[in-house]
């Protein structure tokens, strides 16, 4: 028998053999943070994708990865700049488009001040781009107004990780450690849809999944807890309560490696199982069973994702689960630990190098004088000239003080909460510039659209969900008329009097110097080392340093080396159901789409349309059958899509996937006080036949 190698396009896409391979590169998928390894072969007729073996994906790809190259020669690909003239976007030359951008920036900053020009980045940008964008904002624009869509993604887990461990790296261990664990508690994560090859690391026997929906991931679990949306914090406190009362506290670990336990013990004493059951709907017996699994495992993991994090109390919710992990003695023990599953492709690196409102490269705080002095030296500017912290993403996207916005790698019209308001805000700007490779919903509103290169057309680095810095390698040149984001930023910087390089390798070397001595220290990482070593885990302070696959084995990154317990109290969602809006609305992802769908919705081979998932009891109460159009309404807007009637969802909850224009018309922009994360995952809604 002869095995077929998986790798070519599947039906109905005709099988294609590139007669002539022009370029070939070993790179990684353009989508999620798992960053599955792939090999691209480029010929005159297109690019073929092959899966490549790598610890993260073990040779697997989901259909998003397999079809990722379909967008390279897509008919909707932008290959020329567009400028808005009166009523329409019309093609323009690069000089004309850039003139308009620079003239607009200059005029607005003269009139309204530097901070009136804002920058909005993305968690899909390479490390080089994220760094260059932050530098562009602080040095060329000298604006404090920069943030990015990762605020909507990783900010709560980041804040909780920093609070507990003194550092925020999604997984502080390689992904293989998860496969070796005897018990894994997965809170608000649905990797079977969001990063399918990750499921290869999830053994079924010890898996406990917390999700208001019986997702594809929940079906893999030995135990599925199906809590009321917005009650994960109470659940976490309740699990810790049981861990203590059942004698599972790792006293030696708590004494030796942590601080602050007593205050947490007192706080969770008030979360006895029956109280938690009533609030969450999770049976007491399942609470006990969950703790037993974690406590009796030789190696156990607690992992959170957006379901726990995208709340107005997301930071505290993550902290509740970190507290649980600490009480059981997991973090910093080889093979065990707490981690969060990063969402976007470079959700990790994207939050480390300066596109975040309050940060400078190397995960440095922008209000830290020493950090400012260090970065100022690398940038060749005075420390006092670096602006301070700016507003967070949603605050930026609703700020009256902003008159111009430059968007790179994001589509906030679809991905921001209360999206109708964001759309109105964008429409009222004096200047909106969007760099993208397709005409996203946001780009369609722009005054200037700049066509940029795709992943297969550029070099750079990404930092995957493990904190492993990996290489993105160019397989094919961009189409004529298209420039890389780095080239665009370098050109704009130069025109604004702050010249920089557009060469990824040069930018990465500068990033390394800027991050040197910081929390996320990349100083010892080079393209050559990544190539030779299959990626390098940060921190890696110098070229002789082997990188750090596992953090915390000896000490945590806090001043005293101990992890910090922080007591957290459950509180209701910012908007709970009431007589007018009697249901919970929650939002999430589907397997065939990615983020705002600007890319994946354009790929014909990827199925998927918006829908409203609801329980048969609810469907029959409002009188709709499966497939019939229903309208979901909240205090912020309404959206209509076909009903998907399923017993997999709680009867008091409706679910809408967010890759389409509808879901975020509904969501609540209530923000977490620490992370500034909007409450995407719960608000009050009503549903009726359309």
């Amino acid at each position: 028998m002869r095995d077929f190698q998986p790798g070519n396009s599947r039906e109905p896409t005709p099988k294609r053999q590139l007669a002539t391979v022009i370029g070939m590169s070993d790179t990684h998928c353009p989508y999620c943070a798992l960053q599955c390894a792939m090999r691209l072969r480029a010929g005159p007729d297109g690019v073929d994708v092959e899966a490549r073996d790598f610890p993260t994906n073990q040779g697997g790809l989901c259909q998003k990865g397999w079809t990722s190259a379909d967008l390279l020669r897509h008919p909707e690909r932008l290959t020329t700049p567009l400028v808005h003239d009166g009523e329409t976007l019309r093609p323009a030359t690069w000089p004309e488009a850039l003139d308009r951008v620079v003239a607009g920036i200059t005029a607005i900053q003269e009139r309204h001040g530097r901070d009136a020009v804002a920058v909005f980045g993305g968690g899909g940008l390479t490390n080089e781009k994220a760094y260059a964008l932050g530098r562009f904002a602080r040095v060329a624009l000298r604006t404090s107004t920069i943030d990015y869509n990762g605020r909507f993604c990783m900010s709560s887990a980041a804040a909780a990780g920093n609070r507990a461990f003194g550092v925020d790296r999604g997984l502080p261990f390689p992904v293989e450690d998860i496969a070796a664990a005897d018990a894994v508690l997965l809170v608000g994560a649905n990797p079977a849809e969001t990063m399918p090859p990750f499921v290869r690391h999830l053994g079924g026997d010890g898996l406990v999944v917390v999700d208001p929906r019986r997702t594809a991931t929940a079906r893999l679990a030995a135990l599925h807890l199906q809590p009321t949306p917005g009650t994960d914090l109470a659940l976490g406190n309740g699990l810790l309560h049981i861990a203590i009362t059942e004698g599972h506290l790792d006293r030696a670990y708590v004494d030796a490696r942590t601080t602050g336990f007593d205050a947490v013990r007192a706080a969770v004493a008030q979360w006895w199982p029956a109280r938690v059951e009533r609030l969450t709907g999770v049976p007491v017996a399942d609470l006990y069973a969950t703790v037993e699994r974690l406590a009796n495992a030789q190696k156990a993991m607690v992992l959170t994702a957006r379901g726990a994090e995208q709340h107005a109390k997301g930071t505290d919710t993550v902290t509740a689960f970190v507290n649980l992990a600490l009480a059981l003695g997991l973090p910093g023990r080889r093979g065990s630990g707490y981690g969060c599953l990063t969402g976007q492709g470079n959700g990790q690196g994207g939050r480390e190098h300066g596109q975040k409102a309050d940060q400078l490269p190397g995960y440095r705080r922008i209000d830290d004088p020493a950090a400012r002095a260090h970065v100022a030296r690398v940038w060749g500017v005075a420390a006092d000239d670096i602006p301070g912290a700016g507003p967070s993403a949603y605050e930026l996207l609703s700020s009256d003080a902003v008159r111009a916005l430059l968007v790179f790698g994001s589509n906030p019209v679809v991905s921001a909460p209360r999206a109708a308001g964001v759309r109105r805000w964008l429409g009222a700007l004096d200047l909106l510039v969007v760099a993208d490779f397709v005409l996203s919903e946001t780009a369609a509103l722009a005054d200037v659209v700049l066509p940029t290169a795709q992943w297969a057309e550029e070099d750079g680095t990404m930092t995957n969900l493990e904190g492993r810095v990996i290489r993105r390698r160019r397989a094919t040149p961009p189409p004529a008329g298209v420039r890389t984001d780095l080239a665009v930023l370098a050109e704009l910087s130069g025109r604004l009097g702050a010249p920089t390089s557009s060469d990824p390798r040069t930018v990465f070397a500068e990033l390394g110097r800027a991050s040197s001595g910081g929390v996320a220290d990349y100083a010892g990482i080079t393209y050559e080392r990544i190539d030779a070593e299959g990626g390098v885990f940060w921190p890696c302070p110098d070229e002789s340093h082997p990188g750090t696959p596992r953090l915390f084995l000896d000490r945590f990154a806090t001043p005293d080396g101990r992890a910090r317990f922080t007591p957290v109290e459950h509180r209701p969602a910012a908007e709970e159901p009431d007589a007018d809006f009697p249901l919970y609305l929650t939002t999430g992802r589907v397997l065939t789409q990615y983020q705002s769908g600007a890319q994946t919705r354009r790929i014909a081979a990827l199925p998927g349309d918006p829908y409203v998932e609801l329980h048969p009891d609810l469907a029959s109460r409002i009188g709709v059958d499966d497939g019939a159009p229903v309208t979901v309404a909240t205090r912020r807007g309404s959206a209509t899509a076909p009903a998907r009637v399923s017993t997999t969802i709680r009867a008091d909850t409706v679910f809408v996937p967010f890759h389409y224009g509808g879901a975020n018309l509904l969501t609540n922009p209530a923000l977490d006080p620490i992370s500034r994360m909007p409450e995407f995952k719960v608000c009050a809604a009503r549903v009726a036949p359309a």
Partner: protein
Amino acid sequence: MRVLVVGYGMAGSRAVAELRSRDADVKVTALGAEPHRPYNRILLSSLLAGKVGEDDLAISAAPSGADVRLGERVVAVDPGRRVVRTTREEHEYDALVLATGGLPVFPSLQGLDSPDVYAFRTLDDCRRIVARADGARRAVVLGGGLLGLEAARGLAGRGLAVDVVHVGTHLMDRQLDGDAGRVLARTLAGLGVRTHVGASAREWTGNALHLDGAVIPADLLVLACGVRPDTRLAAAAGLTVGRGIVVDDAMRTSDPHVYAIGDCAEHRGSVYGLVAPAWDQAATVADRITGGRAAYRGSRVVTRLKASDVDLAAMGSLETGADAEVVSFADPARGTYARLVLHENRITGAVLLGDNPAVGTVVQLFDRDAEAPADRRTLLLGRAHGADPPVAADSPALMPDAAVVCRCNTVRKAAITAVWRAGGRTVADVAAATRATTGCGGCREAVCGLVDWLSMVDPDTRDPDTEVAA
């Protein structure tokens, strides 16, 4: 605004925290009669069972700005002067919150002044019982209500043989029907707790409890015959007192400057004796005192027996009116029993004992007074009912053509069949042509099953080694 809180147990401490979190300017003084630091009464039975230590009972430190004085017992309230007198001094107040809690009910029984008789109410009670239980072999608990059973389970957990004597017709007769009580008795028997119902205790002789017609030898007697509101201060101050201190929806007593919450309060005829209502009341009173308009309208009570290996939830009333609908399930041999009463499509009462996977759902439906599911079986069976469809690999023949076998790549059965028809014969062939199995890999078994099934129903005379789909 000077607020004085009398009592620093579960209700009083909560009121202090709620007051401070609402208004930083309000001056709060709390007076606790018990000398040791405040503790979490919820965990007393776990302490008795030896599962937690006293450190685990600590409740959160008093909020900053609150003046908490422990071991200072109030001896009188003078509503006319708005003054409270303690064993040490006088405190003036603008608003007074009584959270004096409850007192154990002592049965009419001879020999209560004999040694080795213990109430089960306070931390000190618990300490005494634990000290005596060390080295004891047998205990008898008088009272088969919630508290008595928790005490019995705790003592049994310490290795003592325990008898429970209950005057009612069955255990927890305020919450359970007879059948549930009997299943519960059987469950407890398996855990080393013998129960005697319909039994009147006559005398404790120091080494045995004498019933009508029986003698139960024991080293100690624990009294769990209920709790009555501690209304002594309120009554002496002339406030209206019924079973408890009578309050309105603002938790206000007959004196407009005096409030009462928790086990000492009687609201709309109800004295709850549970923490959850006390905390709702604490929130209401804090809101009122700080100028809000909150109203407490009563609590829906869910009783949960907190004891290892016993899973019992009881709520509402099991009374069945004319239009009542009853859903029930019983498997006494395995200790499982469920009885739900519904009126107008809503759960008005329920008992769930043993393995009831829907208990969380039932509790929430009752708590919210929400419509019950159309399929009543889900109230009994929960997630187990109508669970996931059979795994594809189990029944390839029955699988519809449109069934998705590989989710990661949206590969349907029809596509895999098509590969077979085109000459593909192995899982690898299917993977190459369809990408099935190349995502999470979880469908590999299902694809194998399909290929095996196809090889049986559509055997091929050609040699698959030489015929491979191009």
